[in-house]
Symmetry: C2
Subunit: 376 residues, 2 copies
């Protein structure tokens, strides 16, 4: 019987897994095609004549900036562009000043400027708010600045070099954006959206699974392993970092599908936070499963019914909310949900008052009420 | 006199701005010095004559591989070295084959090899176990392979180029390792070790804080905000990603301080996991604070004493364990702790049996017992 209930979950997992695998596969193909494109583009005679050795910067740009998510690609590309321009401009300036002075002053100016700008940019990389969005740009700034300053020592072609490099980076950037956005784009926003809807479903399933486990055990009196439903919740607890990353990329993504400009991605993070709190509550119920239950059979039966009803309505609520988020429509059953949850709480507290084991649902009921309040 | 009064302020600032800020500052200085060193090294006449334009690869190596933690720097450097060698070698081979064939076959061989190797390496980057340790190496492999293959189309100096590039990368690598490891190194292992000990302390403090809050409120009958103690626990829940990253870097770090080779960093991750579970339990007690407590004053008083005693011994236990981990000595009071916790559980279950509110400590007691079992 347990196996039966596992089957649809497994097939569901398989489905999501294969979908993710497919995207990974497509991503590899896209990277390969982009690189071939750039390689041949930079080897075309007219372009090669103009760019020469600098063609390698186009390849480098593609390799470095082509990320799995479209938003990540765009963010890295823009960071790279801005970092290169800033670094190149300041580098030009420093190199020119150094050459104006000449002699031993030249080396001093170069050494000092390299030290100051590198240290300052490195420090800015360790500030959390800058690190989150512009870490890569700062690195490219340091790199370009140093390259321009050092090359400026021996040759007088700094401006020329900077212009060429920028145009090759631009070429790589355009090809990258072209392949990344037009052929099977992988949007971080879509992923965040789907993962949030899945979380609701997972929580609903683990509440149901927990209740089943809890009331099954007492009738069979054997210790079984309830870790399956909890591993779901546990992995959900550690999604914070990933969600934040996805939201970061999603903010860079242009209008696509149902997501407009300045779509409120922050709301997703907030809902995710609330869901993680709910997962914490569900996880803490694990203790109830492990604790010995010495209560009489009758007391058990008296709480069984309201608890199961509550569990069912909780799961239903979660599914309803998850569904409405997935389909991006206003949850029309909102009032119904609230009244249902309220009556559930009343029922539970009635069932609980005479028994010592009501603890089980009280915490859960509270959590869900809290959760509802923060959602509506 | 002014100097005298400034001194304590400075020392105070030093203390409050924490060790972390100081390390960040040192890191910036180190990066600056390293870059100046590399810039002047690559501009020395004998070296410049040999390396020429390739000198920029040394700068690039330093900028890209110099990370905050010593282990991260070493791992990136080795990844870069191996990636460059593999990519360069295969690139040479492909370019030679392409030139042997010549004509239109040349372009076909180049296009095919670029596509196959880039796609394969990109796919390997999306496999979790490879992504964790060798992500950067795979990227460098793609980069070098493409550069060598494309440059091989127009010039016959592939081997020469590869050798030069490798030697400049080696130069950057050596300078990097030199500054990173010899001057105020920041070890990821130290950080992981300290953060684990701090976690024990934080949990102990939040248990104490929770109990204080719980028993204070009933006597004063006012709603106060207990969020402070919980934010600690909450932030602790999200340390998984950071811990795993630190452990990853720590594995690369050579013998230093009290940490030998093949130090069991995995144990740290396991203990961290158990602590996060405990934090989950503590967080779930939040519900108890929010729930109305209608019980009589006498019932309250009867559970207050054993609960507070239990909380105290839990906090003591956590501090003892944290201290022994911090000092890296065997926890000598192990037997004492186990017997103390056992007697605590007996006491709690005695105090609980007549009252309906014993729920509070039961879950906690269970969690800590579970925790003790997995630690000893």
């Amino acid at each position: 019987k347990f196996h039966c209930s596992l089957l649809p979950i497994l097939s569901f997992l398989k489905e999501t897994k294969t979908k993710h695998d497919m995207r990974r596969f497509t991503h590899c193909i896209k990277v390969g095609i982009t690189l071939v494109l750039v390689a041949f583009l930079s080897l075309l005679d007219p372009i090669y004549k103009q760019l020469g050795e600098n063609a390698m910067w186009a390849i480098m740009t593609v390799v470095v900036m082509f990320e799995f998510y479209a938003g990540a690609t765009l963010s890295k590309g823009l960071n790279r562009g801005i970092g290169t321009m800033l670094g190149g401009g300041l580098g030009c300036l420093a190199a020119t000043i150094a050459q104006e002075i000449g002699g031993i002053g030249n080396a001093i100016v170069i050494g000092t400027s390299v030290f100051i700008f590198s240290a300052a940019a490195t420090y800015s990389r360790s500030i959390p708010s800058i690190k989150r969005q512009y870490d890569y740009g700062a690195m490219i700034f340091i790199l370009t600045f140093n390259l321009v300053v050092v090359s400026g020592l021996h040759a007088d072609k700094v401006v020329h070099l900077a212009r060429e490099r920028l145009s090759t980076i631009l070429m790589g950037f355009v090809v990258c954006i072209f392949t990344s956005f037009l052929f099977f784009p992988v949007w971080a926003g879509d992923e965040l959206h789907d993962s949030l809807a899945t979380k609701f479903e997972e929580l609903a399933r683990s509440i149901e699974g927990f209740l089943e486990e809890y009331f099954k055990e007492i009738s069979k009196e054997n210790q079984c392993n309830p870790s399956f439903h909890f591993s779901c919740c546990k992995s959900l607890l550690h999604t914070k970092t990933k969600d934040e990353e996805l939201a970061k990329f999603a903010r860079w993504e242009p209008w696509h599908g149902k997501f407009g400009f300045s779509y409120p991605w922050n709301k997703y993070l907030q809902i995710g936070e609330v869901l993680r709190e709910l997962a914490t509550t569900i996880l803490s119920l694990k203790g109830c499963l492990q604790s010995p239950r010495q209560s009489s059979e009758t007391a058990w039966q008296s709480i069984k019914e309201p608890c199961e009803a509550a569990g069912k309505s909780l799961a239903w609520t979660l599914r309803e909310l998850g569904g409405s988020i997935k389909k991006m429509r206003r949850c029309q059953t909102g009032d119904l949900i609230v009244s249902k949850l309220k009556s559930m709480r009343v029922e539970l507290s009635m069932a609980m008052s005479p028994s010592t084991l009501g603890q089980l649902e009280n915490g859960e009921g509270l959590a869900i009420a809290n959760f509802m309040f923060s959602l509506m």
